[in-house]
Every structure is written in C-alpha cells, then in structure tokens.
C-alpha cells in the first residue's frame, strides 16, 4: 500500500484543514469574542524523531487527546505561556490563575480547538472520530526510540489571538493504518 502523499492529495488535505480550522477559529472567536488569525496548514509525513523535535518548543504547554472512529490517532496541542492570562480573562476565568485553573483552561482551550478541527475535517471526508478527554503532558519525557510506528501523517495548524500574544498549535496525527483509509476517501473525493 502506498501511503505517500501526491501534490493533489496534499492540496486537498491542506484545503480540508483550512476549512476545519476556519470552523474551529469561528467557535473560539464566538466564545471569547476576539479575532483569531490562522496560519496556512502544514501537512507532512513525520518520523518519530521529527515528531519529538516538533513538540520540543520552549515556552509552551502541551496537551494530548486521542480519537477513535473510522480513523484513529491523537491530537496534540501546544499553547504559549505568553498571553495565557489574557485568554483566561476572555474566557471568564478568575485571575490570577492558580496551577489548577491554568491546567483547566489549557484543557478547555485545546478541547475546543481540537474538537472543532477534527470534527470539521472528519465530516468533510465522511469519516468518524470521537475525541476522548484531553490531558496535560510533558514532551520532555518523550523519546523517539519508544515508538512502534515509522511514520505518521501530521496536520499542523496555528491559531493566534490578535488582541493578546497568545499562540496555539494543533497537530492532528494519524495512526499508520488510518492513513490509507484517509487517502482512499480523499481519492474518491478528488475523482
């Protein structure tokens, strides 16, 4: 089975992500009443060490959330420490943030973004994927040697909130088996 991405497929995935991001941003914008800027989605096939490198960024908090359905995988979110308080205020959290409420905020934010991104994406491809509860995690403890997979399809998008310095990245990673399911759907959509 060939899991490699052609130009046409990459273009399609990028556009699909674009659309689901738009929906995610709209959800968040409605909730916090602030304008959100989106990046152009990055679609790439990554190896375990590239994956670990992708997550090791200073000044970010990380959450993860798995999804199950006709496609399986995990959504990882990176959220900047900078501007966190501003978001908390927009989301009506009590300031100053305690460690507990900050964690609660991060999980809520990542759940909203991941949920909207993934559901928009799955819906367009007539796939199903139900997200489980997100949890906070520390990518420092990740080691590429522990992974049993060789490649994952990563779809990375970035949200910035214009009024604050807050920056959030959502990375949807598909399990190897799910990539072919996705590509099949994509090909039929492109016919």
């Amino acid at each position: 089975m060939n899991n490699a991405l052609g130009d046409e497929q990459r273009d399609a995935l990028q556009e699909l992500m674009n659309i689901s991001m738009g929906q995610a941003a709209n959800s968040l914008a409605r909730l916090i009443e602030a304008k959100i800027t989106l990046s152009i989605p990055k679609i790439s096939s990554v190896t375990p060490s590239e994956f670990v490198a992708m997550l090791s960024s200073e000044g970010m908090w990380h959450t993860r959330q798995s999804f199950l359905g006709s496609v399986k995988g995990e959504v990882v979110s990176l959220q900047s420490r900078l501007g966190c308080e501003a978001i908390a205020e927009l989301m009506e959290y009590q300031l100053p943030l305690s460690d507990t409420t900050r964690e609660e905020l991060l999980l809520e934010l990542s759940n909203i973004l991941a949920g909207a991104c993934l559901s928009g994406f799955a819906e367009q491809l007539a796939l199903t994927a139900k997200l489980s509860m997100p949890t906070v995690f520390d990518p420092e403890k990740l080691s590429p040697d522990h992974y049993r997979w060789a490649n994952t399809l990563s779809m990375e998008v970035e949200f910035k909130i214009e009024s604050s310095q807050f920056d959030s990245k959502i990375v949807i990673c598909l399990e190897e088996d799910s990539i072919s399911t996705l590509l099949n759907r994509l090909n039929s959509l492109l016919e």
């Binding site: 046409e8 273009d11 990028q14 738009g22 914008a29 959509l189 492109l190």
Partner: protein, 121 residues
Amino acid sequence: MPIPVTIADDSMMSRKAVRRALPADWDIEITEATNGKEALAAVEAGKAEVLFLDLTMPELDGFGVLRYLHEHHAKTIVIVISADIQPEAKKLVDSLGAFRFLHKPLNAEQLSQVLFDVGLI
C-alpha cells in the same frame, strides 16, 4: 453568449468543488485563477463577470482583490467563498462590496440559491 466566470482559489480541490457545485445547465465560460493577481488579470481581460473568490491566497489575498475591484470595477459580481468564517471577516467582506459570503465547504444548493437571488439564473 456564455457568461464569463472566474474561480479564484489557490486550492485545486476547492476550484473543483466550485465547478461541481455550479448548475449544470448554466451557460458559462470558466477561467481559473490560483492567486489574487491572476484573478485581477482575469477581470481586466473581461473574463470575470462573476468572480468566485477565496480569501486566503498567496501573492494578493481576497481582501486585496475586493479592495481593487471596489475602486475600479464595481460591476463585477463577487461571491466570496471562504474558510475563514469569523464575523470579522464577513464584516470586512461586506464593507468591500461583495455580493455574498459563503462558507466552505461549499453547499451546492446554497450556491444555486445565491445565483438565483442575484438574478444570474
């Protein structure tokens, strides 16, 4: 005589999606543009009586195209089809004189309705 229509979107899939959503019996001649500059060139060449316009594009984005048309070619009927569906984007698009603001993924029925409303079909 067929109506000149231009579809401006950097994504091939989205251009295809617009083509597919257009009514089959509508007599048109389609030009495709992959960025804002190409879209404006098509307008200048008289190939865009109707312009389906994406907002996020390289070279010149949809807002830039709207701004230019707003000043120079008020006659072009622009239908924005956007992935960015935040209220702010719609407000800006409206103020720049677009006829309609449609969300991606494009819904064929909705598109037909819009074309009907505008009096194109």
